[in-house]
Symmetry: C2
Amino acid sequence: MKLATIKDGSRDGQLAVVSRDLKTAQLADGIAPTLRRALDDWAFIAPQLEQLYRELNQGRGRRVFDFDPAHCMAPLPRPCQWVEAAAYPSHVELERSGRGAALPEAPGDEPPMGQGGGEPLGPRDDIALLHEEWGIDFGAGLAVISDDLGMGATADQAHQQIRLLMLVNQVALRNVLPDELAGGLGPLQSRPAGACSPVALTPDELGDAWQGGKVHLALRASWNGKLVGQAQAGVDMAFNFAQLLAHLARTRQVRAGAVLAGGVVSNRGGKRGYSCIAEQRALELAAKGRAATPYLAFGDSIRIEMLDGDGKSLFGAIEQNVAQAVAPVDARRGR
Amino acid sequence: MKLATIKDGSRDGQLAVVSRDLKTAQLADGIAPTLRRALDDWAFIAPQLEQLYRELNQGRGRRVFDFDPAHCMAPLPRPCQWVEAAAYPSHVELERSGRGAALPEAPGDEPPMGQGGGEPLGPRDDIALLHEEWGIDFGAGLAVISDDLGMGATADQAHQQIRLLMLVNQVALRNVLPDELAGGLGPLQSRPAGACSPVALTPDELGDAWQGGKVHLALRASWNGKLVGQAQAGVDMAFNFAQLLAHLARTRQVRAGAVLAGGVVSNRGGKRGYSCIAEQRALELAAKGRAATPYLAFGDSIRIEMLDGDGKSLFGAIEQNVAQAVAPVDARRGR
């Protein structure tokens, strides 16, 4: 099934079931007011949502409305755990070479992974930041939402607890990153709020494309209307989502509603374009000694989408404009 | 006022107002069912909670019950943002020297800070982990809970948005940390779930001890009943909580309910004992060439508390036992 969270002025929004073709939706308020509540008791709530989903797809829904991604928050607007892996070695290598950092040692048994902030934006919210000079980059990827998972769980066990998938735009501030990484505590300021696709879907919606804990479809990234990337998300992924979740669970109880993003999707050799600008710049630097492609400018737009075998959008599109934010006025200083 | 969250089997618990002397409490369900809800609309909710708090302290409460920290969850069990700073340079220096890492460069203008996981335990919950060999350490510190704070806010603005303070036990796995830090994405597995004091309190409860965004009182840490640390939290803190929050807000909207932990409290020279074992081991290593004090063993207990000028507990005590966790049984593998 496909789920979305509709903006209603509250911080958690309202849970809605969305039709498979993304055309219509129906509030799930009689079942669970928010996705958080649904995830809190998934085994009990999910079958009821599935029933609503079936009725909606069969044209038997009540109080049906046209689905509009512009009215969506992130499917889970306030996750308590937001973890970011870097499961595509090709991205890690390019990102590092682009900033002149040492390449990682031979890929080990452990996936690169760090804590992130649980503050995802809706799919049409602006990427609003104070300064272009921070080196604003997009980052197209996939994320899973987990159910409860015990400490020390195996990858097999983790696989069974993957409840939902969604697309993410993992925004990065490339010019803020190097100083921050030198501090050793991981990216913080250099990873501002990202965004999620309009819809989160259960793995069965992917059919055969969900295999071995990976999504075997292309992730399309467009910049100012031009398609710049269509990397295969199931290719060159060194750790699948089940392995990533098991890594997270090694020393902690993973709680229902934890979000784990797999990292910027990246295929070796750059043949299928790029899912973040840093990769393109690294390739230019290596080929011509100079990174020609600039980072995002205010007014730019980014679109991230995944199509099924029939060319139909699975998650709806993330479509964000880059905008200049304004710092709050300090009343005491008059600015 | 003092607030706590009472265990009721749900994931967010029930909000209660606790008397100043920590003896009695009263559910706030008529006002806000959870602390999250209260923080979502603090300007409207807080005055009502304050009124309940006054009545409770005056012996005019209704449905009053004895306050028992054993029934508490963390005051905010599921924060969406959990950030950990390292605001005490003495801790950073000792922790690094203890593992043979280079000392940080001359303290800069930027506080060390990284994302953490929002999964705090209650004050009496076990520190349950799979292996002693991970090098289980406690870490006594303070944390603030923020209201909404705009991107680019000043420290003055941030100071006005500090709503609550609490004690935290920032548990660390010292033998897992070095490999993880080498990866560059910050601590993840090496920072399992920590714990919070029974009570979160508004800054006014601290009276004159809340000055300049710091808490000018000693933080007491006991290990198996023996007092091992009583560092002054207001001394040797290089960045106050307002500055720390402003750092977090530089590239993001901080949302109500964000938790920012200041790091392990540490005074220079070790004269007032230690707030984490790693510091003691580093001092031993420097003095005798060998770290004699072991990390925590299963069965050990840790108590963290802060007393006011009259010797009364302000937040209640964190009292945790270290226990061996058991990994979930994998039905397919029969283990």
